[in-house]
Symmetry: none
Subunit: 265 residues, 2 copies
């Protein structure tokens, strides 16, 4: 890493837990490659403290912006001065840029990053039947990106059914003809199975879906990056599925994040 001086711009990632994040490594590498005098640091922020921390960062003139992840992606939206159309529809933000006048502007890059990662691994979701576990911030972003990428059907499973209905109402505005179904824990019958919950981050987490119903030939994808091999991916591999870990989503996103945060010399 280049030396940090009094002229270095500061970026942050806001998360809880934080130890597992990989974005600082990725964006610090990209800044070094681009010759940007900037640094990204990890800020461990509990849900209850987000507004306070954000108010503080807004007042820091050398602060360039933040990457936002669990549990802040949805909660941060009303705290920002402006968000993109995509972020408003998804109801979540994972990148916040600080404008020179102190305004904080939000964008969601999760979904685009996830689809870019899938495609880079040779998996085009167009025309496929997709099953999505979760209806939170990341799941919303991925649902919109899969809809935009042309999946034929989208089934969403979430403990709270009202969140699925809410997601579907917004998805129908974007892609009126898309086949949507509120699913059970059973992922059978779909080409692409995606875990977009945070289940799998901790060793004691239950599985996000009924892994005994996974079928050989299905593509099972994760958004969790650490551990790289979640319990779900282990089950999927054991049942003959192809697996797609969480890391390519980050790789797909890093360049998008660097551009949005104006990481340039």
């Amino acid at each position: 890493m280049p030396e940090i001086t009094g002229r270095t711009r500061v970026f942050a990632i806001l998360a809880d837990p934080i130890a597992q994040v990989k974005t600082p490594q990725g964006l610090n590498r990209i800044m070094a490659e681009r010759g940007v005098d900037g640094v990204m640091v990890p800020l461990h922020v509990a849900a209850a403290d987000l507004a306070t921390v954000l108010a503080g960062l807004r007042a820091v003139r050398s602060f360039g912006g933040a990457i936002v992840t669990v549990p802040h992606k949805t909660a941060i939206v009303p705290l920002l001065d402006a968000v993109s159309d995509a972020a408003r529809l998804v109801g979540a933000v994972n990148a916040v840029r600080r404008e020179p006048d102190g305004r904080l502007v939000g964008e969601i890059l999760d979904g685009a990053g996830f689809v870019a990662g899938l495609r880079a691994a040779g998996h085009d979701p167009r025309g496929r039947s997709a099953y999505l576990a979760g209806a939170g911030g990341a799941a919303n972003a991925i649902a919109f990106a899969l809809a935009e990428a042309g999946v034929a059907r989208l089934t969403v499973h979430n403990r709270t059914a009202a969140r699925v209905e809410d997601l579907f109402a917004r998805l129908r505005r974007l892609v009126p003809g898309l086949l949507l179904a509120s699913g059970s824990p059973d992922p059978a019958g779909h080409d692409l199975v995606v875990n977009a919950t945070s289940l799998g981050l901790r060793p004691e987490d239950p599985l996000p879906l009924d892994a005994a119903r996974l079928e050989p030939g299905q593509l099972v994808a994760e958004i969790i990056m650490q551990p790289a091999e979640t319990a779900l991916l282990e089950h999927a591999a054991a049942r003959g599925c192809r697996i797609h870990p969480g890391l390519p989503m980050l790789e797909g996103q890093l360049a998008l994040m660097a551009d949005f945060l104006r990481m340039r010399p």
Copy 2:
């Protein structure tokens, strides 16, 4: 610099202006040498925003603490949960540690850094007669540190005599038996002569004391780091004094700062 990960502790320097600060370079070097997984970044914070930024940093669990400089050293005192006796007496703080429970504790290391720099150069002030030019923030910190280091007598010269009396009133609370005198520009008769004013920063500055009265064998010390050789030090060397430039004060402080901020593996 070592790689920044999700486990890296974050430290900051709070200043306005910020471009000129040298502490991040110094403390990041020390952390690398000590094998500490931490990083110090520059946060450009205007005086009016200090309370807001501090409230935000207090809520960041990966935040280890901050170095504080112009214009925040005095203003930050009432915003902290606790300050050291020295910081309370001096009325200023230049280092803030975040305890694991979120409490912010302040310390003033300017004076101790000066004394550490003196000692590292082989000059122990214990039992000596000291002459100090100035009664501002830096002079206050050095006066307390010299008193704690056991000088036998302290003479302070300042244009505004009321500031000297105010300083003496606080010094007497710390070291009741210390011999104190309000001085003239004449530094004759003292073992140690210290410039703790900002005179010497600019080429056109007058000397902070009557250099024609300096005596061979006196130790003449500066707090000014740039230029390294001030007009006062040039006069002192010409008159056969030993000289002690300003830079060792910073070097002496860096280790104290690193210790106070618990920068250890």
